[in-house]
Subunit: 298 residues, 2 copies
């Protein structure tokens, strides 16, 4: 039997069930970051992301953008938990016949974004491999009372995204700005109930919030910010690599956020009691059940 | 110009020079682990290691042993700093047509060694890739006064290894026991000046200690424990993947260790003032300059 038969998330669940952790672990596998005890005031966040040639980028992608993206995706995970990134390591597999110019480009991309976000690059591992592969592991810190998880959405919450969705694969996925500034703004001004970054598509990632919070959701087609790069709503639903934050706020907080008329925060729906999964109210005000789906590695 | 022209260590140095870190970083890139401020008593250790199919193992290697090794190499890095491993993440790239049995084997290997060493597996990343690739990032803790680095060897120190060297590639590299117990024993009983684990061969890894400590070294062929798997001294010198600890103790401490007649600690030479690099005293008492070399990815 092949792993593609049970699929990426089936495989993850299969192994997750067997993992036991000690009390130093606040949240283990299953959220954007692992959450570890750190000091009286803060938790430590720990996350990793692997980018592989042929999957996340091609032979012809600008190495600078590959390097930049390899770090940006982990920053996005730290932002999803309302944390601040602090340190990272980079494991890099390179073909022997890689041009020095390509290697320089990768490192410049990595350095550039680490510098911009004040992240300490503290080492890594270099290996030969047939195709380019980069795995970045990152540490961060979050105030205990600011930590946001996938599992804390509440009936009545308003669902927001930080930007338009869909079509990222046509270029945006290589130069997106991780939403750290937005996460910081939320952390300082609001009590966010649940948050995730959209890496596998709105439907799949909102699905993680709904499932882990044991709630249902409604989204309104009229409210959904669809990217000009997207070919229709389906790509906004399922394409992935948007790296926008998807979060839920209690109604009063949500009103406060909307009153600020701050750009970059789009209400798209609400959290309801669990009965079905995710419902779309389309432009004609019809209720449509949204089929699950999104990017899966296998 | 290809990266193979400047080589693995040339490439690392090229980029290391550009890295700047803030005061939260005690030791950044360039040792077995990054060393980060943690609390009053302890530092946090942070390390990663990438294993790639075709380089570190083959298509026919038992998946259990691949999974086990992917974690063991990072434990070995933590042991080199006299620390205790605490948490790890696993990034795993798998071909779509991987058998579930292979994936199960990999995870059993990872779980088994995490359990044995009380390491919390707190998540990871799963990706498709043409060949199997595993990158493990690991956290650990070390008492500030126990931390051992590559850079603190002193003139007059005795050089030790924890086991026999060479020929590991014929099998031992897949089932070696990381020398955590030995590191713990040393940390509790002695003041180790410098330590590294031998992953790229005795000469290359001792070379890191000599260079970073700005000292020279002498080793005695008569004292060198050569593995029964090794074809001669050259393999003990240059083959790598031994994952034994290589450390230096001040003379008085060294005498105390030898007086204990504890098995598993072999004195092989001594640290001298820097004049040349590494000298071998061969079986006929001739002084031979040891050529640098060892495993390099490119």
């Amino acid at each position: 039997m092949l792993i593609s038969k049970i699929g990426e998330f089936g495989l993850i669940e299969r192994f997750r069930r067997k993992i036991k952790t000690d009390p130093s672990v606040v949240v283990g596998s299953g959220d954007d970051c692992a959450v570890l005890k750190f000091d009286k005031r803060r938790y430590q966040l720990f996350t990793c992301d692997m980018l592989v040639e042929g999957i996340d980028f091609t032979k012809n992608t600008d190495p600078y953008l590959i390097g930049r993206k390899s770090v940006a995706v982990s920053i996005s995970d730290i932002a999803s938990c309302c944390g601040e990134p602090t340190h990272c390591l980079v494991s890099l597999g390179l073909p022997e016949n890689t041009n020095l110019k390509t290697a320089d480009g990768l490192f410049e991309g990595i350095f550039g974004i680490c510098k911009k976000y004040h992240i300490n690059l503290v080492g890594g591992d270099l290996s030969s491999s047939e195709k380019i592969v980069i795995d970045v592991s990152m540490l961060g810190l979050v105030d205990k009372n600011k930590l946001t998880l996938r599992s804390k959405a509440q009936d009545g919450d308003i669902i927001f995204v930080t930007g338009s969705l869909g079509g990222s694969i046509r270029g945006r996925h290589l130069c997106f700005e991780p939403r750290l500034k937005e996460a910081r703004f939320l952390a300082h001004n609001f009590k966010v109930n649940a948050m995730i970054d959209i890496s596998d598509g709105l439907v799949q990632d909102l699905g993680h919030i709904l499932e882990q919070s044991k709630v249902g959701g409604v989204i309104y087609e009229n409210l959904l910010p669809i990217s000009k790069d997207a070919n229709g709503i389906n790509e906004a639903f399922y394409m992935g690599e948007d790296f926008e934050l998807l979060f839920t706020l209690p109604k009063d907080q949500s009103r406060r956020l909307l009153d600020k008329r701050k750009s970059g925060f789009y209400p798209i729906g609400e959290i309801i009691k669990k009965k079905s999964g995710l419902t779309l109210i389309d432009k004609k005000a019809n209720e449509v059940e949204v089929k699950s789906g999104g990017f899966r590695h296998f």
